[in-house]
């Protein structure tokens, strides 16, 4: 298997977006991606050290997607995510320390220790949950869109999901429902070419996810998911359309996770090391860094300052998690019902 199985998608308004955004916006995007990367590097290390009792699926290599989409959202917009959801939670504004503490199973975690990596909840910032089941996030984001349309609110629902979800019935039903009701929803497919270790090219005869939008009568585009400018531009158009009553959009972001499906699993076997390396060369953060410098959108000093600040933030998150208490066992069956 080579990268030819998933060719780099055409640059979606990438250069014009690079030039249109001001330095402050660029630095915020750069920082956003870096927060995800540095936090997850710490989480992977903590998993190896035995601090994380459950699963840990990292988003390393895919940071441009969550960051480029969530840049267009505020706290009231509702994000629904997958098992690979740390990046979505962090991009939506959940503090790294709350994500870390949740994976550590601590009372200070964003789900108060009830969820772990695959059940990150922070409704206060519109993070409506990562999920251990592939597919439901598509339907729930559609439902958020239903609420916003019903109550005349300007928000959007956003579903992040992988290529593994698009052959699931929830994809079909969710996109169809969002289409017929004209709901303000973004369907963001992170096509990283593998569902666990099953190649997307094996799982479908049509690997062009963006083209599936047309099947439901909604706009569908494919962008290079490692190019944050392309993701940003596509999400900008889609959120504007959704907020102005234009209905849902499907965006396929072609990307790659450069770590295993989950921490502790094998890296290769189902994919070649050459393939992994070729995607590491296209690292979304390093690529963006080089473009910012080349376009004079940032100075090396500015970027270094951000790198230092984010490194400290991620390290502090782990310290916070380590020093946080476990939940009181007496609360294990609280919150099953509202009343």
């Amino acid at each position: 298997m080579t990268t030819a199985a998933n060719p780099t998608a055409p640059a979606f308004a990438s250069d014009s977006t690079l030039h249109a955004l001001d330095s402050a916006a660029h630095l915020a995007l750069y920082r956003g991606m870096l927060v995800i990367r540095r936090t997850e590097e710490q989480l992977a290390r903590a998993h190896q050290s035995g601090f994380i009792p459950g699963a840990c699926h990292t988003y390393v290599g895919e940071e441009a997607v969550a960051t480029g989409v969530c840049a267009h959202l505020d706290r009231k917009d509702a994000v629904f995510s997958t098992h690979r959801g740390h990046g979505h939670a962090l991009a939506k504004g959940v503090p790294p320390r709350e994500v870390a503490a949740e994976l550590f199973g601590r009372a200070t975690g964003c789900s108060r220790g009830r969820g772990g990596s695959m059940h990150l909840f922070s409704p206060e910032v519109g993070m409506m949950g990562t999920s251990g089941i592939v597919g439901p996030c598509i339907l729930q984001a559609t439902g958020a869109g239903y609420t916003f349309k019903l109550l005349n609110q300007p928000q959007v629902g956003v579903a992040f999901f992988g290529d593994g979800a698009v052959n699931n019935g929830a994809f079909h039903e969710g996109l169809n429902l969002a289409a017929i009701y004209g709901l303000p929803v973004l369907f963001i497919c992170e096509n990283n070419m593998y569902a666990t270790e099953i190649a997307f090219s094996y799982a479908t005869r049509n690997t062009d996810v963006g083209a599936r939008g047309a099947l439901y009568g909604i706009p569908g585009v494919t962008v290079d998911g490692n190019d944050i400018m392309a993701v940003y531009a596509a999400a900008d158009e889609a959120t504007k359309r959704a907020r102005s009553g234009g209905g849902p959009t499907l965006i396929e972001c072609r990307t790659y996770r450069t770590r295993p499906h989950a921490e502790g699993m094998r890296d290769g076997g189902y994919r070649s090391l050459e393939e992994v390396d070729s995607w590491k060369q296209r690292d979304p953060i390093q690529t963006y860094r080089a473009r910012l410098l080349a376009a004079d959108k940032a100075t090396a000093d500015q970027l270094t300052a951000i790198e230092n600040e984010v490194k400290a933030l991620a390290e502090e998150a782990i310290e916070f998690a380590k020093n946080s208490p476990y939940p009181d066992p007496a609360t294990a069956s609280e919150h099953i019902y509202h009343a």
């Binding site: 909840f121 409506m128 089941i133 729930q140 559609t142 439902g143 109550l151 969710g174 429902l177 009343a339």
Partner: protein, 325 residues
């Protein structure tokens, strides 16, 4: 007191709630202009329009999952399945998402969603339009299961469902839908987990639910004429289950029979029996008896269908047998 059918009573509750709360909306197949296969929403589309009376494609998993997301974000969906058998296509959304969402979010999300539809054997409905299923749902933490018998209970329990913030399965036996009964004027709600004692008696406690209650009441009244004193209890909700009312009754009568249209294994009767044995063993003067429908898919032919559901004769025999123990 005025009389309404079961369906008119729930429709009145829904209509009043939709007038008062713009966050409530209904989804289902044919619940818009058509007013619902069982007239559950008749007249509401004209008043509230297509966003609040939302006709759906035949897409059960899709619209249940959609309504989960809607409930998480501040609206209050009512899913009208027509036949409750159709919920089975959305079990993952119900069990993994709706039932667990409040817990997973440590109580920071609420899940105000009602999933309603008709259950029950009768009218040659055959296997795909006759399931009862409530023991399956009562097994799960995170959802409430209401099983009303009378029109008055239907309205009161539906009001509780409409006003609460928990997922509620509201199961309406198809043989009850057109039965009339007195319904109080004015606003009222019946809390979940409060059984209704329909007949007071001293010799035997009979727990029965949904359409089985109609038959059980007829048998009770027949036997009362012979001087047999039966205490008849309708739990009204099976999650939560009001075991205390049953225990109090068994303390008085010493005998317990559970009459249930659906299956015995791992069923409501098994749960009631286990709890009564655990907490009221010394009150029992005889083994606890169960009378259930046959453990089989529902057959179509009237001759076969009648053979799988307890009838008045079987209920009477079960009561007499237990009294003779």
């Amino acid at each position: 007191m005025r009389e309404l059918t079961f369906t008119a009573a729930t429709r009145e509750a829904l209509s009043e709630a939709m007038d008062a709360d713009p966050r409530i909306f209904v989804v289902g197949e044919g619940i818009g202009v058509r007013g619902g296969n069982f007239n559950t929403t008749a007249g509401l589309y004209e008043k509230h329009g297509p966003m609040r009376l939302c006709d759906t494609p035949i897409s059960e998993r899709g619209f249940v999952g959609m309504c989960a997301g809607a409930a998480m974000t501040g609206s209050r969906p009512v899913v009208d399945f027509m036949f409750f058998d159709f919920i089975l296509d959305s079990m993952g959304e119900l069990i993994n998402q709706i039932a667990k969402m409040q817990y997973m979010s440590s109580g920071r999300l609420s899940m105000p969603i009602i999933l309603r539809g008709c259950i029950g054997i009768g009218n040659s409905s055959a296997t795909h339009h006759s399931g009862n299923y409530y023991p399956i749902f009562a097994h799960l933490p995170g959802i409430r299961v209401a099983l009303p018998y009378s029109p008055a209970d239907a309205k009161g329990l539906f009001n509780t469902a409409l006003r609460g913030d928990d997922p509620v399965l509201f199961l309406e036996h198809k043989s009850l839908l057109n039965m009339k009964g007195p319904v109080p004027d004015g606003d009222y709600a019946i809390p979940f987990g409060q059984a209704n004692v329909l007949r007071n008696g001293t010799q035997i406690t009979v727990v029965s639910m949904a359409f089985m209650l109609k038959k059980t009441i007829e048998v009770c009244d027949k036997l009362a004429a012979e001087g047999i004193s039966i205490e008849l209890i309708d739990p009204r909700t099976v999650n939560p289950l009001d075991i205390d009312t049953i225990l109090t009754s068994v303390h008085k009568t010493g005998r317990l029979l559970i009459v249930d249209e659906t299956f015995a294994p791992c069923g409501i009767g098994a749960e009631i029996a286990a709890q009564v044995v655990a907490r009221g063993f010394d009150d029992l003067d005889a083994p606890i008896a169960r009378l259930n429908g046959v453990h089989t898919p529902t057959p179509y032919s009237p001759a076969l269908e009648a053979a799988v559901v307890p009838d008045n004769v079987a209920i009477e025999r079960a009561i007499r047998d237990l009294l003779a123990e």
